[in-house]
């Protein structure tokens, strides 16, 4: 399929309801596509119902039917943090002419402790939840194993945070837009789960993103679309320093697109925690195993580098509204491909990659976008 139009809200602490967020993102996507709702044949939504303040809403498909006055197939895909990518993958497989994909989340609706607990519900319950393995702790243990084996340092992770904050500074839709963060601030930020500090963790935000996919040829083709699911618990993996589902999804997406990692011009990676971005450079084939640290040290992944990564600011500094994230990645890549990325514009983007993870490497999607005619 092809990308017809994209839309997203600003990611932040706004008090809009889920419906309002969905409406805003969808309206932008419709306008971008020069469509109206009559043109839509099916909808795939993504949300995890984690509004722990009590404003819970299940049956989201019917909410969308009510809002859009549509009696068409509406599916809700839930793969926690990987829900957005999973929704795009589903829409791409459905076979309808025009499909609206929309993801939304109101993650900032309670205090940090309760939100942490809500997110923890995506972890395995008897080993992980019961033994305090909140997501920062899970990723801290993964990072530690990676550091021990491959010699990466916390300074490398700080550079990832600094790069993504620098990009978010330029992105009007990012939570940290025009908010300067220094490397010193990052390195001095409080420890959340050692060795990870506050600035190694992505931002819980509210927001929504939408994309309209179509069979009609547009300027952006979805050349590769793959989804792999691995076991839930990171500690169960034979190798804790690599997400197997990322590798499998990447291999399949490259094969579908008939491309190799070196063809990619820009990428949005799932930097829920800074070490995950470094590990993902390797899992996605941008460098060899253990060499991710050089990608960030040498500036390869900076905005002016050979392969700019997370030009939007990523989950780290743009924000991570769980189910909207995977769709927001496609939003940003489409903007890059259409030269609409403003101060963050990367030159000559023909091939772009979106990488979205749910859980600790559990549900992974990789999408490769190709500029038609490239």
């Amino acid at each position: 399929m092809y990308v017809k139009g994209v839309g997203m809200t600003k990611f932040g602490a706004q008090t809009d309801t889920s419906q309002e967020l969905v409406y805003e993102a969808t309206m932008e996507a419709l306008e971008d596509a020069n469509f109206n709702m009559e043109d839509i044949d099916a909808i795939v939504s993504s949300t995890v119902d984690n509004e722990s303040s009590g404003e819970r809403q299940r049956g989201f498909s019917s909410i969308l039917s009510s809002m859009f006055k549509k009696k068409v197939p509406i599916l809700t895909s839930s793969a926690v943090c990987g829900g957005g990518g999973s929704a795009i993958w589903t829409a791409n497989k459905m076979g309808y002419e025009n499909v609206l994909v929309v993801g939304s989340e109101r993650l900032l609706s309670n205090n940090t402790a309760n939100t942490t607990d809500e997110i923890l519900m995506a972890a395995e319950r008897l080993y992980e939840q019961a033994d305090g393995l909140i997501f920062p702790a899970q990723n801290a243990l993964v990072a530690q194993q990676y550091m021990l084996r491959y010699g990466a340092t916390t300074d490398d992770f700080a550079l990832v945070a600094f790069k993504n904050h620098s990009n978010a500074y330029l992105n009007p839709k990012a939570r940290f837009y025009k908010r300067q963060v220094t490397l010193k601030q990052i390195k001095k930020s409080p420890v959340v789960a050692s060795p990870l500090r506050l600035f190694d963790c992505s931002l819980s935000v509210n927001g929504a993103a939408a994309a309209i996919l179509t069979k009609e040829k547009t300027d952006i083709e979805i050349a590769g679309s793959s989804l792999y699911v691995d076991r839930l618990s990171a500690f169960e993996n034979e190798d804790m320093t690599s997400w197997q589902a990322s590798k499998l999804a990447a291999e399949e997406a490259y094969k579908q697109a008939n491309l190799s990692p070196s063809d990619i011009d820009v990428a949005e990676l799932h930097d829920a925690f800074t070490p995950v971005e470094v590990i993902s450079y390797e899992d996605l084939g941008f460098c060899k195993k253990g060499e991710g640290k050089y990608m960030i040290r040498k500036g390869t992944v900076n905005l002016n580098g050979k392969l700019p990564v997370n030009t939007s600011g990523g989950l780290k500094a743009k924000g991570h509204p769980i189910s909207a994230t995977g769709i927001a990645q496609v939003y940003d890549l489409a903007k890059q491909m259409r030269k609409q990325a403003g101060d963050r514009q990367v030159d000559n983007v023909n091939y772009a990659l979106a990488h979205n993870i749910g859980g600790a490497g559990s549900t992974v999607t990789v999408h490769i976008l190709k500029k038609v005619g490239a």
Binding site: A113, L126, A130, D131, G132, I134, V192, A193, E236
Partner: protein
Amino acid sequence: MIIRWICEKCSKKWIYPIEKCVYCKGPVIKQKGAKIRVAGITKVAIPSPMHPIIPYNVLLLEDEHGNRMPKKTMKDYKIGDDYVEQRAKGKDAVAVVKVKYDIYEAIKDAVGLLNRIDLGKDDKILVKPSIVAAAYPYQAVNTNPDFLNALILALLEHGISKENIMIAEQALIGSDSMDAASKAGILEVCKKNDISFADISKGPFEEIESDGYKFKILKETLNRKIINAPIMKTNSQIGLSGAVENLSRLCDEPTQRRMYFDNIDETLPKLVNALNVITIADATSGMQGQGPLTLGEPAFLNLVYAGRNPAMLDAVFCKASMLEIPPYIKLGKNAIKDIEIVGNELDALKYPIKKPVAEETPHPDIKVIDGKACPACLNAMFNATSRLIGLRGEQLNLVMGSVLSGEMLEGKERLVAYGDCAIKRLDEMKVKPMAQISEKTDMIEQIVLLKKLLTSKGEATITPIDKVKSKMKKLLSRVVQ
């Protein structure tokens, strides 16, 4: 101990038990690691509702098979350290073990951590679960049948013959024990394992004396070793139904009533002193909020507690669940910090469950002023008030039990003496309630009276017309049945 379930034919592994391999259909066996080392450690500095005490560490443990698991601890370790679970040194230690998909292993772990448990192969055992009312296992009112089944398997594996094991319990006064055991799934477990179930209320009983107080307890208790197997629940009346409270139902009905009449906070510890028990408590799915019956909510705790001292075990449970320790839990000279806890550290276990509120009943307009009413009256009160849900009115205060003081009644209006103890005590205190409901009052008459009281501002009494109405209702309900 780290356990994996591994297919004998194709070596695929699971972190939970499955019957046979989903690929080759081969048999699945347990793979247990014995030598465990610390492969990773993170210190967590942010609190969450499930883990409120910070900082805490999460260890990444790895065994000789390469199997891993996380383990929360307050202690500091280094990568490469050996990890050894320390066994108890003292006899009153409390073991707390997290269930990792296998209750049987958790029970064995918990008992194994205690300092030498004296159970011989030829011993006769009486297992005393909590089965207080007819309720399904998911409601967490009674000891979970899966827990009891695992406990029986552990006893059989220890070499105790099934002929020497007896499961014995009686429901709350006013409830049928066999109905309760049946609905709770306990009879099915007994049948499956070919083990007898005894309804304690049928006796015979024998009198014993402890600290100057006389108890009539089940005679079998004196001939067998007792394994106390309560489910851990909040109790809106006495704070907690756990290891100590469970033992009260070894007594006959008059003794139970008398224990409450004479102040359960003082009589229950005397009963505990008279008994020598091993407690293996079910906190897999315990109860929180308005326990101990179905007004309470199941609490997914996923723990097994074990110990020789029921009071200490209850105290540790209260602290771990962030509940107040009830007055009937007497720790003697020991403070909670003196209790030896093995398996998990107390601060690492702390997780707040919902507290019970003593004055609440199922009905929003009916409150209780409880002077330690006996379970019979309490059970009847819950029954009567729950049938009036939906009918709103003026607030009523049901006064119950005999341990009442002027302070408890201060500022309270629209008092209704509920039960013979309260009627007698209010009379002694020269307090005139707006109505009296004696224990002989038929349930339908009770409901009729409470309904009148709720919906009228003044006094209400049972009139001859009410009696006729209640008899007709009773007759009608029989016809319908």
